[in-house]
Assembly symmetry: C2
Homo-oligomer: 386 residues x 2
């Protein structure tokens, strides 16, 4: 009991957005936030800030205004939704750690949102399948696990309403970016590319798994917004019940071919592991199967931008998303191009303007502030910047 | 109430194996058994007979001797297990139809197995995740749905013990055998072959989906026995918790290439949709991705044969399984060969003997009594039989 008392004392109040959390002292001081007594990652603030904007933008279209936080920990995301997304009427947070749930319940009282918050201690799929207090599916379902979300994708999709939203984080970025390709293949059913745009391939592998799982359940997904940081990838997608749309899933699934020799890259519908590069003749690498369709919905991103005034970090991400040519499933890094040109680095903005005036499509990307997207081939890019 | 009373009166006793069922009169008289008042298919007797043999063969190795029947209907399979697989200590049967469950409960009393039978009315994934009366996973989990099992594979795998057994039926044979290839691709993540051995490709597509879903959940499967009839395919596989074995899943996943022109077929690890036939130069069809490993475990099949004395139909299936070269992922039909030879039909037994004496591997297959498996190419088969 003495240890438990001590544990309780070790929780401190901290404020994020307009919400107060009760977090373990150690999570604010240690470099890697520990799992005991409860997990809280202060560095995931941008992740939660963007969630609040996304859920505010999405909530008006929901038929049931409920939110489920599958791995809620000390309730950080659930509490922010309860406080900062007023349109959501009921918030359900779940975790296997009772100490974390106790902190979440106390913090709900502190924020005066305890009447709309329901916290539970259960295995995540059981929680998700149980549904809301009427046993119905949830309007919005979030999944933000330690490591891979691959194991729980079907439970998340089973738990969300027709016309609802799922938001899913992956933190197994080493796997998704190509360090353990065989693990990637069995978790995400696609091959990663361990190259200069590995995180874009990664996010598209995650989207592909979600889309293919959905189609097996006679559902279809539509990605609305994605972003990434060093240690995580995150997607937002709406979900509809439609076996005819499910049948079309492969229209958005394909491959990215990449030449490690000359940097040529393109998207293709067909897998071909012996493909030679049309520019330099080297054997190309294959990424995928992966999601090749757009991953931002510009209207949705604009709605997010209108919700509250986003802080500087969120604004930077949303500005890039609003502009991004997200139907191009790869990007080019400015330093990669400069190295090939043997020139001083061009700024991303400068590259984009020069490509556009040469008649190409070009944009920023949320996945890397030092990179750009274009429909120009690498030889055409080098030519335009000479 | 009058209608309900009538419904109850319409249930009649019928005996299968050593077990008495209460079945709707209409299911014994109508050509297609109706879903109301409850579903029961008398024609699935062979399916249930073989289940009893398989569960008796598997039960001794179980650490928890429990059985879950996900779509139990009037309890047919659950009751036969309760009566005829004495090693199983608890039987859990679930259905969404309360009329069916009432018939199952009454029949459990009639068979004096009501103390070991637990019947419930719930959505199938909720039932499966709930576990046994201690909330633990089940030793054996059966899934025998109307139509495709694809939607529920994740739930079945989550519900079974480490070292347990899953048995799964698919009745969407039109999809799996190639009538609706785009539906097959989204349900089973592989392309069907609408040809003379379509049901073998079908069963391997089902096995592949199960294996790939398992590997995502850090599980591995080992097929023990499969069989097929006109309207269904059925597999038995043991399940183990092992992320290292899960990583190896693609060692048993590949493709079958088939030439519609000359009948040449072979298995390959790589997808190649432009492959030309080495015998006649035509473009080949691709089946898969699909399970290319063995699908019978001979030791297990022999154990099944030692359980009770199987009736004639079951014995025929088991004899073929015990002999089958199930690592060859396709078969040849005797009539297909005779047509090419322009001769009177050879018997399967005769073909097998002639191929074996020519030095080839050759066997029967459970998937078609008029067909054989061999490692000989089609030109070598024709040569050997000339």
């Amino acid at each position: 009991m003495a240890a438990e008392e001590k544990e309780k004392k070790d929780f401190v109040r901290t404020v994020e957005g307009r919400t107060t959390f009760l977090v373990p002292q150690s999570s604010l001081t240690e470099r890697v936030p520990p799992k005991t007594p409860a997990f809280f990652n202060p560095a995931a603030r941008l992740n939660r800030d963007l969630s609040v904007l996304a859920y505010r933008a999405f909530a008006p279209s929901l038929t049931r205004k409920t939110f489920a936080d599958s791995f809620t920990g000390i309730g950080a995301r659930a509490l922010r939704v309860a406080v900062e997304v007023p349109e959501i009427e009921k918030v359900y947070g779940n975790d296997i750690n009772p100490v974390a749930i106790e902190a979440a319940r106390k913090a709900a009282k502190i924020n005066s949102v305890d009447s709309k918050c329901h916290f539970s201690i259960d295995e995540v799929c059981k929680f998700l399948l149980h549904g809301d207090s009427e046993g119905e599916r949830f309007g919005i379902v979030d999944l933000d696990p330690f490591g891979t979300p691959a194991k729980h994708i079907d439970c998340v999709l089973r738990a969300v309403l027709d016309g609802g939203l799922v938001s899913i984080t992956a933190t197994d970025t080493a796997v998704l970016c190509g360090v353990y390709p065989e693990v990637c293949l069995r978790r995400y059913y696609g091959r990663p590319l361990n190259n200069s745009y590995g995180n874009e391939t990664a996010i598209r592998l995650l989207l592909s798994l979600i889309a293919l799982t959905a189609s097996r359940l006679e559902l279809s997904i539509r990605p609305l917004f994605v972003h990434a940081a060093m240690h995580y990838l995150r997607i937002y997608a709406s979900v509809s019940v439609s076996s005819s749309e499910a049948n079309d899933v492969y229209a958005s699934i394909g491959y990215v071919m990449h030449c490690l020799q000359c940097g040529h890259r393109f998207k293709t519908e067909e897998y071909n592991n012996a493909k030679k590069c049309e520019l330099c003749g080297s054997v190309m690498r294959t990424g995928g199967q992966l999601w090749t369709g757009p991953f931002h919905d510009r209207e949705f991103v604009k709605k997010m931008m209108l919700e509250q005034s986003p802080d500087r970090q969120s604004k930077k991400v949303l500005d890039a998303a609003a502009e991004e040519e997200s139907g191009i499933p790869y990007y080019f890094r400015a330093d990669e191009i400069s190295a090939k040109l043997r020139t001083n680095p061009h700024s991303v903005q400068n590259i984009i303007e020069r490509l556009q005036s040469a008649g190409f499509v070009a944009s920023k990307t949320v996945l890397n502030p030092s990179a750009f997207k274009t429909d120009a081939r690498i030889d055409q890019i080098l030519e335009a910047l000479k």
